[in-house]
Amino acid sequence: MDIEFSDEQVQLRNSIQRLLQDKYGFDERTRIVRSDQGWSRKHWDSFAELGLLAAPLSEDFGGLGEGPLATMIIMQEFGRNLVVEPFFETVVLAGGLLEHAGSNAQRQAFLPEIAAGNATWALAWAEAGSRYDLNSIATTARRSGDEYLLSGAKAAVIGAPWANNLIVSARTAGDRRDSGGVSLFIVDRQSAGLHLQSFKTIDGRRAAEIVLRDVRVPSDQLLGPEGEGLDILEACRDRAIAALCAEAVGAMTELNSATLKYSKTRKQFGVQLGTFQVLQHRMVDMFIALEESISLAQHLNLSLAAGEPHSSKLASGTKSKVGEAARFIAEQSVQLHGGMGMSDELNVGHYFKRIAAINIQFGDPTHHLMRYARMN
């Protein structure tokens, strides 16, 4: 089932690798994370120039039409280099939602801007107490003439401090946990009544708690049919999981190769670390965990690219399995690097932290294991 990549796909991967190798080394990444902004407009522009922001999006709206496999390739390379710029939030989440659920006018207005690198987006779906349920929403949207008034609070919105636009889930009907009555809105981040409190995330990004007090949203900024937002969000989550698992695979690849290299060069008790059988077997298990993860991530991305109907169950299974594999590899990579693994100066700990964040985004391995178990 190994994917045979097309010449274009191989070229795409090579060009990203070259760009990141030349311009996005670990020192540069550290500088970006520590800057006040927390991300780099310069690198974002170079991603746009290379066509990365356009690659997965539809050709009808400024994209290159290369679909989920392009996303997979990009996310995997971004995972290998710990890229913090909001490709996932802007292109995968918002771009995907606009493309799949947006009106023609909305696609026309926003997708070319995303593809060109002129706008960044964030998706505000979680709330305090919602845990990982997409439908657990207390934020309300009340119709008033040709506007909606949004009120409520959204939690831990990654990339919100950087975003020009937000996509916000809110209730147009029903109670907090109902599956019906969820609607999605495109909201200008500068809107009156919208307040952000920013904080740093475990993996060096920026997120925000968002409070909305009667934020006025024109009714033509409703994304998808009113009250049917949950289906749209669930499909978005499947795409999100496919992208995050590809990113995790990139991070795991780097961790395994760094750990292997270390165990071949580092000497202890007069011999190479790698000669200890207990560590050999550990690294074999890390190798197996990575191979299984690559397979599942490819399987899921192929399934999405083919529009398979059962992708959602596969997505949950993959999120759970890859998440546990990534955690195992991350923890063992720190362990096998010894004290060095604990140091902030080495990249190993930063892969560890990115994997910890991936395991939280859109639901942790336990949540998805249980979801997988209960789906037909």
């Binding site: 995330t201 580092r266 008790f269 207990v278 004290g339 939280i360 336990t366 249980m370």
Partner: protein, 393 residues
């Protein structure tokens, strides 16, 4: 789990409980005492215990110990960790103190023991070096005799709280020709000596706990050598034994486990399928704690009958650290989405942290706890010790 206590020991336990309740400084109850306190704040409890005469439970009475029985020491251990008091820094009282009163000369005892007890001298440990890892005997820091001084050159690393330290106890190589363990000496070095510099190492949780210590032509009076030259490995091993026994951490794990239960019931609804998984995971850890505690009590009972616990310390280190890592992992998972946030260091109340307060240190604790299976001899090394010393493999 409780030891069957005599009337007298019960009285002692009640006295300890009351003392902690009355005197533990409230300013030490911060979100993460290990990283959030200033040097003076973290010494408050130390000084109170010193005044009371309880600062050094393991020390013989003649050197300033309280003269407690093994059971009383255990009660103390249990009560303080259950109450969540920050233990006085181990490097002085638990580590170098016993080395000095066991192997030091009278002048050294007089010079150093009072400052360790009072907290006036803050000690740090100069064992690890870059490249040495769990192989401590690979010491490369050199000490060369020059008249009545040693001239020390080298680089120590992972030195906990060296930024506060007045003194460092160091393993140094005094005989470069001798094999591994044979040429090592145990030297006490004043941190203010010219040529000694400290550089912070920031760890993955963002905190500054550990440091590099560089020694360049540091002149150390020869009278600061403990015991005999080239016999330092004996003293170092003696000290490591003391370090590892204290690693079961039952009290701390019990406290964090109770906290985890509260967090899970606040965060995860009855209708959430993940709840069952958490309940099972917590029950498993609780049984792990119970089994380790029962083992600890068994070893305590053996020790009070005069039986040497042998490599039991390695067992405590392995299981104690694995259990605590698991609890911090489960706590981080239980927090859910807010596990994405992490406090910035140095910690400050002005910095915004989202979500309920009980989750504010979940990320940093999960990250910080990764060190436990690495330091003090990695858990792989501890397993090797048991394989060799107990199983004869």
């Amino acid at each position: 789990m409780e030891l069957k206590l005599s009337k007298q020991d019960e009285g002692f336990r009640d006295e300890v409980r009351a003392f902690i309740a009355d005197y533990y400084p409230p300013e030490m109850r911060v979100p993460n005492p290990e990283t959030d306190l200033t040097k003076e704040q973290s010494l408050l409890w130390h000084r109170i215990l010193y005044k009371k005469g309880w600062i050094a439970p393991l020390w013989p009475k003649e050197y300033g110990g309280p003269g407690w029985s093994i059971t009383q020491r255990f009660i103390w251990e249990q009560e303080t960790s259950r109450a969540g008091t920050l233990p006085p820094l181990a490097f002085g009282v638990t580590m170098v103190g016993p080395v000095i009163y066991t192997y030091g000369n009278d002048r050294q005892k007089k010079r150093f023991l009072p400052g360790i007890l009072s907290g006036d001298d803050w000690w740090c440990q100069g064992y690890s070096e870059p490249g040495s890892g769990s192989d401590l005997a690979s010491v490369r820091t050199k000490a060369v005799r020059d008249g009545d001084h040693y001239v020390v050159n080298g680089h120590k690393t992972w030195t906990t709280l060296a930024q506060h330290a007045d003194w460092i106890f160091c393993l140094v190589r005094t005989d470069p020709a001798a094999k591994a363990q044979a040429g090592i000496s145990f030297l006490l070095i004043d941190m203010k000596t010219p040529g000694l510099t400290v550089r912070p190492i920031i760890t993955i949780d963002g905190s500054h706990e550990i440091n590099d210590v560089f020694l360049e032509d540091v002149r150390v009076p020869a009278e600061n050598l403990i015991g005999e030259e080239n016999k330092g490995w004996t003293y170092a091993k003696f000290l490591l034994g003391n370090e590892r026994t204290s690693m079961a951490g039952i009290g701390r794990s019990t406290r964090y486990l109770n906290r985890l239960k509260k967090i899970v019931s606040a965060e995860i609804g009855e209708d959430d399928a993940a709840l069952d998984e958490f309940v099972k995971d917590i029950a498993r850890v609780e049984l792990d704690v119970l089994a380790l505690e029962a083992t600890e009590l068994r070893v305590i009972a053996q020790m009070s009958r005069g039986i040497n616990p042998g490599p039991a310390a390695s067992l405590f280190k392995i299981r104690g650290t694995e259990i605590f890592q698991r609890i911090t992992d489960l706590t981080h998972r239980a927090i859910g989405t807010y596990g994405l946030a992490i406090r910035e260091h140095p910690a400050s109340d002005n910095m915004f942290m989202p979500g309920p307060e009980y989750g504010h240190t979940a990320s940093e604790k999960y990250l910080n706890a990764r060190k436990l299976s690495i330091y003090g001899g990695s858990n792989e090394i501890q397993r090797n010790i048991i394989a060799k010393a107990v199983l004869g493999l």
